[in-house]
């Protein structure tokens, strides 16, 4: 009897314990489930909050500043004058340029780059692009014209290998109001690219020089600018390009109204690693032909004069970076030879040459501190009869510069 009682008691106790255990386990599981669900819900909300939409707006940009120490000697009619400047802000190359990018889905992109440079505010470009097909982009607005590659691809301080622009290459205005089509084309193992623009065009000044970027066209003729590039190797290491710019440059109704400009540019870009060196060779050659015109003499405004308005500018640049040597991989040595010839017997004729050598220290892939030394020789070919001859000028300039893209 006593044994039966004891079995019953144990049985009841076990059932009771199992009940308590089951209940408490169920409560714990429910509590865990609830907190995990809450956490997941919270994370889901956070992801949805941060999930990108179709549109996107962003600001990047660049700044370049530095110091320039220059010594110039000019010899004219046997008289030599010397000048020396030491300037912060590196006046010719200082810039602070934010760039605004708006993306609307994957079809539209607006680009706007204002710039504080040369002690004033300006706009480098302001345009909208429509990505029409895989190989066709249509653009309209204030454009960088496809004339050579330097202005469009290499001029930014954090991209450039030296502290200065190659003279003459940036002398021709290459930003204008217009429309543009461009794209890249795969052709077997090669690639090609095209870039054609129709714009208001350049304007011929009273002395035979050119200006551009006119919002109102100075004549009824539109200027065509185009560039074709070919990348013959499958690794895209070499690109060769040829450009042309054709259009009337004279003001409508003026004596210049039929004057045409025919301009050409040839460019080369070769970038390849030869372990442990990264070799970077770039070059461009511009030819500017402006039709014949009679210009009013600055000496006697009742007289006119004429000259062959033909200019050339070219540079070849080589940079080497020992990317495969750990101790030196942030350094890059660069050198460039530049030549620039403007029309003789004009008021601005000269034969100019410069040689630049520099050392870059890359703080990151988009930040560089550099030192550049540049020698310059300019022999005036301007008209003596127009009192424009300026003799021979030699200068040496040392640049210390920092540039970053943000």
């Amino acid at each position: 009897m006593k044994q039966n009682f004891s079995f019953k008691s144990y049985g009841l106790l076990i059932i009771l314990l199992m009940g308590i255990f089951a209940r408490s386990f169920a409560q714990t599981t429910a509590a865990v489930d609830s907190s995990v669900y809450d956490r997941l819900n919270y994370l889901e909300e956070q992801i949805n909050y941060h999930k990108s939409g179709d549109d996107h707006f962003m600001v990047v940009g660049l700044t370049t500043f530095g110091f320039a120490s220059n010594k110039t000697t000019n010899t004219l009619n046997g008289v030599t004058t010397k000048s020396r400047t030491n300037s912060f802000a590196d006046a010719n190359h200082y810039e602070f340029s934010p760039m605004f990018l708006w993306r609307h889905g994957k079809k539209f992109l607006m680009e706007f780059e204002p710039s504080f440079a040369n002690n004033g505010l300006g706009v480098n470009w302001a345009d909208i692009s429509y990505f029409a097909t895989p190989n066709l982009i249509i653009r309209a607005g204030y454009l960088v014209l496809p004339f050579g590659t330097y202005s469009k691809k290499q001029a930014a301080g954090w991209i450039n290998k030296l502290a200065t622009d190659p003279m003459g290459i940036t002398a021709l205005p290459t930003t204008d109001y217009g429309v543009e089509i461009e794209g890249g084309l795969p052709i077997g193992s090669m690639k090609m690219n095209y870039d054609f623009a129709l714009s208001n065009g350049l304007q011929l000044n009273a002395d035979g020089t050119l200006t551009g970027g006119n919002i109102v066209d100075n004549n009824n003729n539109k200027t065509f600018t185009g560039r074709l590039g070919i990348l013959p190797f499958s690794n895209s290491s070499l690109e060769l390009g040829v450009s042309g710019m054709f259009g009337k440059v004279g003001n409508y109704g003026s004596s210049f109204q039929d004057v045409k400009g025919n301009m050409y540019a040839f460019d080369l870009n070769y970038v390849k690693t030869f372990v442990p060196i990264l070799l970077n060779i770039k070059g461009q050659y511009n030819i500017v032909n402006i039709g014949d015109a009679n210009y009013v003499s600055p000496v006697d405004t009742t007289q006119t004069y004429t000259f062959k308005n033909h200019s050339t500018a070219g540079f070849i640049q080589c940079a080497i970076r020992p990317t495969g040597i750990q101790a030196l991989h942030d350094l890059e040595l660069a050198a460039r030879y530049t030549t620039y010839s403007t029309p003789s017997n004009s008021t601005f004729g000269s034969d100019q040459h410069s040689f630049s050598i520099g050392l870059n220290y890359w703080l990151s892939w988009r930040a560089v501190a550099r030192i550049t030394y540049e020698t310059y020789t300019g022999n005036s070919t301007a008209s003596q009869a127009l009192n424009a001859f300026t003799g021979t000028t030699n200068s040496n300039t040392l640049y210390l510069q920092f540039s970053i893209q943000l």
Partner: protein, 94 residues
Amino acid sequence: MKKYRSLHTVSLGLIILFSIITLSSMNSCVPSKAVAAKTGVQLWSENCQRCHNTPSPATFSPEIWETVGMHMQTRALLTEAERDKIVEFLKSAR
């Protein structure tokens, strides 16, 4: 004068030659199998350095890389396939 004319002719000739090559290739713009098989990392290492140092994928968020990719397509004149592969690599390698 003769020198300028010959320079003009040579320049114009080169432009016409490049134009003919481009126009004739527009209808058959297909990459070779080897080029089509290139990965994003290959294209990133080959194309970015044509103008500037190769960017670190960690620089921007995936959303920003999308926008930067479009901007760079207009600058470097990449094909759309190249841009998409490079952007996917940059987004995934962060």
